[in-house]
Symmetry: C2
Subunit: 185 residues, 2 copies
DNA sequence: ACCTGAACACCGTTCAAGT
DNA sequence: ACCTGAACACCGTTCAAGT
């Protein structure tokens, strides 16, 4: 069977990636090492390389699966301003949960480049509602995504008092909404 | 004298930090190591610790001096929209020169927390011109800084064709300008 | 197929010793 | 005051060997 000497069951990719994400959540990017991950899984460090090419591929795996699983607001028919705010809140919630992952994603945007991801589809839908013309959707969604990601990362590191953070978020989202309305005009 | 065995002159903090920044520019954060830096300076790795507490302190030094030296547009009396665009361009230019440094700064905002930095003073001045009320300056400048930093970092990693990048920048700055005008209303 | 230990080439940093 | 070499506790990863 060649199952690990120290544990009963064989490793799974799922198990590897959730544990790795936990390590990143707890200790930042530098909190995740192949050796610590192996220790957390009670396995020899080298076993990991049978499931993953290398550390970079592992982090990419974490990021892309987490991005795919992000809970995003469905189209509930409400005005685009409300839907945009809800999307911003979803980003914010996720960034608070996985700050290191978001920082990594921000530095490696190619990981979520695929426009078929729910993340982009949701943004496209809202931008269409806001009146952004079709040929500008790619550009506008890129800009908005960069803005919101930039904001939630900064917010996460800022350790502001909670009510300040809420007012900051409000300012950010209002600025975007007013800006979009202006662009669409 | 106790000058280095391999080189003539004693190390200076200036020399250390400019060489370190060059290494970061060339190879990202992971391109800068205490040992590579020492090699580039033709010095024993341990000599560095006589000028700098540790690697983190070194990077903080690089970032804060570079932030202080950033060339920002002076108040030339032009409309705030033009001045904001000029400031955005200055950010963008700097981010293209030092992408790794900006990523690090984005993840460690406390390094440039001091509101007396020209960076913040310039932003405050433009926001006042735009009609943002005094008690909202801190919040609005934080949001805007996060947006623009988020954007220029994303832009830097995106390797878009140049003319696409220019149109992206234009969309970003217009969105901010329209948004600010809306907020001030 | 999956796991493992030893080994290699790197890190950051401490410490005691040199001038 | 400034520099240095040896050493320690970490990394990621390769490779040959085990079941």
């Amino acid at each position: 069977m060649a199952v690990s000497a120290r544990r009963g069951a064989p490793l799974t990719l799922e198990e590897i990636s959730t544990t790795a994400l936990r390590l990143m959540d707890e200790g930042g990017v530098e909190g995740l090492s192949m050796r610590k991950l192996a220790a957390a899984l009670d396995v020899n460090p080298m076993s990991l390389y049978h499931h993953v090419d290398n550390k970079e591929a592992l982090i990419r795996l974490i990021c892309s699966t987490a991005a795919q699983r992000m809970e995003l607001p469905p189209d509930d028919g409400s005005p685009w301003r409300d839907q945009l705010r809800a999307l911003g809140l979803a980003y914010h919630r996720n960034a608070v949960e996985h700050p290191a992952m978001w920082s990594y994603l921000h530095d490696h945007p190619e990981i979520i480049a695929d426009r078929k991801l729910v993340l982009w589809q949701t943004l496209y839908r809202i931008l269409r509602l806001a009146g952004i013309p079709e040929p500008e959707l790619r550009r506008t969604s890129d800009v908005l995504h960069a803005f919101v990601t930039g904001f939630v990362i900064a917010e996460t590191k800022g350790h502001l008092p909670v009510d300040e953070a809420e007012r900051d978020f409000d300012t950010a989202i209002r600025l975007i909404i007013e800006g979009l309305a202006g662009l669409a005009r």
